[in-house]
């Protein structure tokens, strides 16, 4: 949670008595304090209020929604009927499966390939090192347009295959550079000693480098997973079959394109209000990110800043 702490070198006068303020620093003015507090509170609320409203509305009953005239801010009861409706095996359920599959498979593929390549590129002086590094970094400067990419992906027969959501974006060179920088910070003596003991490169990577790199793997894994969970435009390009839609695609068609989420499935007599169903879709789309992210966030500095600063 305290993300800049490791980087904040403790100022010499910190923690004198109860105050953390350095002795030389003047007391902040009342106006300044109020202004800063106001801004920060505003920023935090701007993030949390929409999440709150969406969550509360998804759990509201028809009466509450009607009474509020739409979105609900104050919870009155907890009604899971909207969730029951979307999990009862319609398009949303299917899309959630697809997205979960894409996210898990994609993250696994991406992490394995990225870690391997980052390790392979982490040793200046190895065969072809400069050329290969250039080959990877050049992708920052030169990128193919949408049209040729589309032609290549469809030409490979990936249209309407969920691999079309994984393979084209499987390698993020940015993530690779971050991982590589992290690997290069591992003391060379450690690797040398393993080498003398007869370990090959693959064993060194698996037994020594990876256990030391949990932080960066967690962060880069989060980046990849979020990318796969959020995939929308590639699905628009490559997936026409709506039984293979990822969740973002479904969310977009329900809420932004205004299609009604008709779950021609096992719906009971009383259909939960459309608004609650929509908000429930939003909640299930947000929740994996909100649930996983805080656990990875504490690694951000260790994992990413080192890479960014060194990279």
């Amino acid at each position: 949670m305290t993300m800049t702490d490791p980087l904040r070198t403790a100022p010499p006068h910190r923690r004198r008595g109860r105050s953390r303020r350095p002795a030389w620093e003047e007391k902040p003015s009342a106006v300044g304090q109020v202004f800063r507090g106001g801004v920060l509170t505003g920023v935090v609320l701007a993030v949390l209020v929409p999440l709150w409203v969406v969550l509360v509305t998804s759990l509201a009953s028809r009466e509450t929604i009607n009474e509020a005239g739409g979105l609900v801010m104050v919870p009155r009861e907890i009604d899971f009927s909207a969730y029951r409706a979307i999990f009862s095996g319609g398009l949303v359920t299917q899309a959630l499966w697809i997205s979960t599959l894409v996210t898990l498979a994609g993250t696994a593929v991406s992490l394995v390939l990225t870690v391997l390549a980052a390790y392979g590129l982490s040793r200046p002086g190895s065969v072809g090192h400069r050329g290969l590094l250039f080959y990877f970094l050049l992708t920052f400067l030169i990128y193919p347009g949408m049209v040729p990419s589309y032609l290549v992906v469809t030409g490979l027969g990936l249209k309407d295959q969920i691999w079309a959501l994984v393979l084209p974006t499987a390698i993020s060179v940015f993530n690779l550079v971050v991982v590589r920088a992290f690997f290069q910070n591992i003391p060379a003596e450690l690797l040398d000693s393993a080498r003398i003991d007869g370990a090959g490169e693959f064993r060194i990577l698996a037994r020594i480098v990876l256990p030391l790199s949990r932080a960066v793997i967690a962060v880069v894994g989060l980046f990849y997973a979020v990318g796969y969970w959020n995939v929308w435009f590639n699905a628009l390009l490559y997936i026409d079959d709506n039984s293979k839609f990822p969740i973002q695609r479904v969310l977009q068609s329900f809420i932004l394109a205004g299609q009604s989420p008709n779950n021609a499935g096992t719906l009971g007599v009383s259909m939960p209000p459309t608004l609650a169903i929509k908000m429930a879709v939003v909640v299930v789309t947000v929740s994996p990110i909100v649930l996983v992210y805080p656990f990875v966030q504490r690694h951000f500095v260790k994992g990413v800043i080192i890479g960014a600063v060194k990279g």
Binding site: G69, T114, F136, Y143, Q252, F300, V301
Partner: protein, 393 residues
């Protein structure tokens, strides 16, 4: 290959049989000549040069990297400090696992990055997707038409609209978005309680991980025609204004969305830079009588300058890219006139119409201008004495 290297190449195989730390024929030479920088400790095979020996003289039975695993990497001679690499074959034998590791990722980039980059040549073709069974065949069968697509493109008012919108949005965001993460970072940095700071950071980073679909959804729910704001305004008897589908204020809307999504995330790099500023600078300037604002101006901002310049370069180099999905999602609501940017122009003039050559031409234009912009921005930064982008790795 010089005779020297040949000798080594030949020697490599023989010397492999030596156990690590085997006594080489020159082990009796004074140890002071071992160059510690070229011979990793523990490898057991120091590299020596014999004093007084002629420069090009061949060293008899020179120790070479061998032994199990990777031996010392480089041969060097003390006098000239020049490092010679072992021959390619020996390095290949040593490094092939690394190459195997890089291969899959490299292959993916080849197929999904470099191959499409080459595929941009369809911009010079009258590409007909039905001219063959596969895109490759269609590509081979399609006639070349030179720069016709570009001529059409530059004569297309819709293209100029898209370009103008893109540049306007970039400029607007440069003024109204770019400084915000810096200000927020300074505010966050000044929060003294680590716990409070951590909480605020956790919250403000969060929206960065939301998809654009979600971000736009939240904005629709808050500010749309049926959104919370309209609802509240109706309750108090005001006429609700619908920001989400008003083309005139669209530029403000997309900037607000960008701010909401990324202002927190944008602080990370500035926070890292702030934490590297020596606290003694603040103390010294405070002792010298500099107030809060003077310290901000004379200590904090100069400390942030390299990062600001770097990000500014990156942003300028990316001037033609403005959150593509964001515009795709909202183009229908506000109309083409306001929401068409270069990327959406490409999409709606190629993928949806099947006129791939034309879309590729527009995409190629964007890519080439983007490349020129980033190179120019980088050179400009170097000219100003900043580090620029390419000092990496």
């Amino acid at each position: 290959m010089s005779t020297r290297e040949t000798a080594r190449a030949g020697g490599t195989g023989e010397d492999r049989s030596h156990p690590p730390g085997a006594v080489s024929p020159q082990a009796g030479e004074p140890d002071a000549l071992v160059d510690p920088t070229v011979a990793p400790a523990g490898s057991g095979e120091g590299l020596r040069s014999v004093p007084g020996q002629p420069r090009n003289g061949r060293l008899p039975a020179e120790p070479v990297p061998g032994g199990p695993g990777r031996g010392p990497v480089r041969h060097g001679r003390v006098r000239r400090r020049r490092r010679h690499r072992p021959p390619l074959r020996a390095r290949l034998r040593r490094d092939w696992p690394l190459l195997v590791m890089v291969a899959p990722a490299g292959l993916l980039l080849l197929v999904f990055h470099y191959l499409p980059t080459l595929g941009n040549v369809v911009a010079f073709q009258d590409y007909n997707p039905y001219a063959g069974d596969t895109p490759l065949q269609a590509f081979l069968n399609s006639p070349w038409i030179g720069t016709t697509h570009f001529e059409t493109l530059f004569g297309d008012p819709a293209f100029w609209d898209a370009l103008r919108n893109t540049l306007a949005i970039t400029a607007f965001q440069l003024v109204f978005y770019f400084p915000l993460p810096i200000m927020l970072a300074i505010m966050l940095h000044n929060i003294l309680s680590p716990r409070l700071r951590g909480f605020v950071q956790t919250v403000v980073y969060l929206p960065h991980f939301f998809s654009w679909v979600l971000v736009v959804t939240f904005f629709v729910q808050m500010f749309g025609g049926a959104g919370l704001l309209a609802q509240e305004m109706r309750d108090v008897g005001l006429e609700p204004w619908n920001i989400m589908s008003n083309p005139d204020t669209f530029i403000v809307l997309v900037t607000a969305e960008t701010v909401w999504k990324d202002v927190g995330w944008g602080t990370i790099v500035f926070l890292a830079a702030l934490s590297t500023i020596d606290p003694h600078l603040y103390e010294a300037s405070a002792v010298d009588g500099a107030g809060r604002w003077k310290r901000l101006w004379h200590v904090t901002l100069p400390g942030l300058r390299p990062v600001i310049v770097l990000l500014l370069i990156l942003r300028l180099g990316d001037a033609l890219s403005v959150g593509f999905e964001q515009f795709m999602l909202q183009r229908d609501a506000v109309g083409r006139q306001a929401a068409e940017v270069l990327d959406t122009f490409v999409y709606f003039n190629s993928i949806t119409t099947g006129n791939y050559g034309y879309g590729a031409a527009a995409g190629l234009f964007k890519a080439v201008v983007g490349l020129v912009l980033i190179l120019a921005a980088n050179r400009f930064a170097h000219a100003l004495g900043e580090r620029g982008v390419y000092s990496r790795s």
